[in-house]
Assembly symmetry: C2
Homo-oligomer: 130 residues x 2
DNA sequence: CCCAAACTACGAAACTGTTCGTAATTTGAC
DNA sequence: GTCAAATTACGAACAGTTTCGTAGTTTGGG
């Protein structure tokens, strides 16, 4: 039950749970367990335990007013993804954003629509720097 | 000493060591320890042990012909970064490259030169898809 | 040849993340 | 009110990571 201001980086299993919470909004353990069992195998009590740990860490809030507690992510998907990216950036790319983006773009096929959107963002960023 | 074909994803501490190897080329434990102690604190035997573990995992090669063994990374920086990026992609971005790149670009100031280079890559990718 | 210094090997402890079994609690149906 | 089903709480096992102490080995200088 100890919580403080700084939210830690979610682990792998925790990230899987957060994905579900971001997608579904406030969810019960059962909800999450059902979604997750489509992809990986994870026992019900494992999901529960993880949520309890995440609650202790401050990664999720919970509403205990009902029999089945409702959990929701504290940090938005956007903010968390940002955190994970900068983390990887410092950890493995020596802080070089150009390097990371170049690798990312090269590593997977990206649709034309996506490329166009990224180009749009580039325009914006260059405009700002002018 | 057991090694097989597939190289596992390096852990956090291992990645720090790999950074040094990529930067310096073949290095002794002492070399790596000295570089690393500029940034984090890590005992000499800790670095040694990690390198032994990495050797078992197949992450590094070593030359034992000299008194001080020379270690070098098996996988190139490029390949490893690629691995880490796609890993993060699936883990936290639902496989959406657009999403990852957009976040990356937004999260840190990027120089005009870097933006230009990324734009160049975009041009290339769009050309290929035509 | 002998010793000190540098090095490697190895085991074990501390820590974190993940898993799940079991016990206790709550709730609704009857 | 009682019971079964669903739920939460909790502890413990297990695996992987990181740390370092200690012991043994090698080497060069004297």
């Amino acid at each position: 039950m100890a919580r403080d201001k700084t939210i830690p980086r979610p682990t792998q299993a925790e990230t899987a749970i957060l994905q579900v919470l971001w997608q579904r909004g406030p969810s019960t353990v059962r909800d999450i367990h059902e979604v997750l069992n489509g992809e990986r195998t994870m026992g019900y009590t494992t999901v529960l335990k993880l949520l309890q740990i995440m609650y202790d860490k401050g990664l999720v809030r919970r509403d205990e007013s009902r029999r089945s507690h409702l959990y929701q992510a504290v940090s938005s998907q956007r903010r968390t993804q940002q955190q994970l990216v900068t983390d990887l950036l410092d950890r493995a790319f020596g802080g070089s954003m150009r390097n990371l983006v170049m690798h990312a773009l090269s590593s997977r096929k990206t649709s034309r629509a996506d490329l166009a959107e990224i180009r749009g963002l580039l325009d914006e960023l260059e405009e700002k720097q002018r």
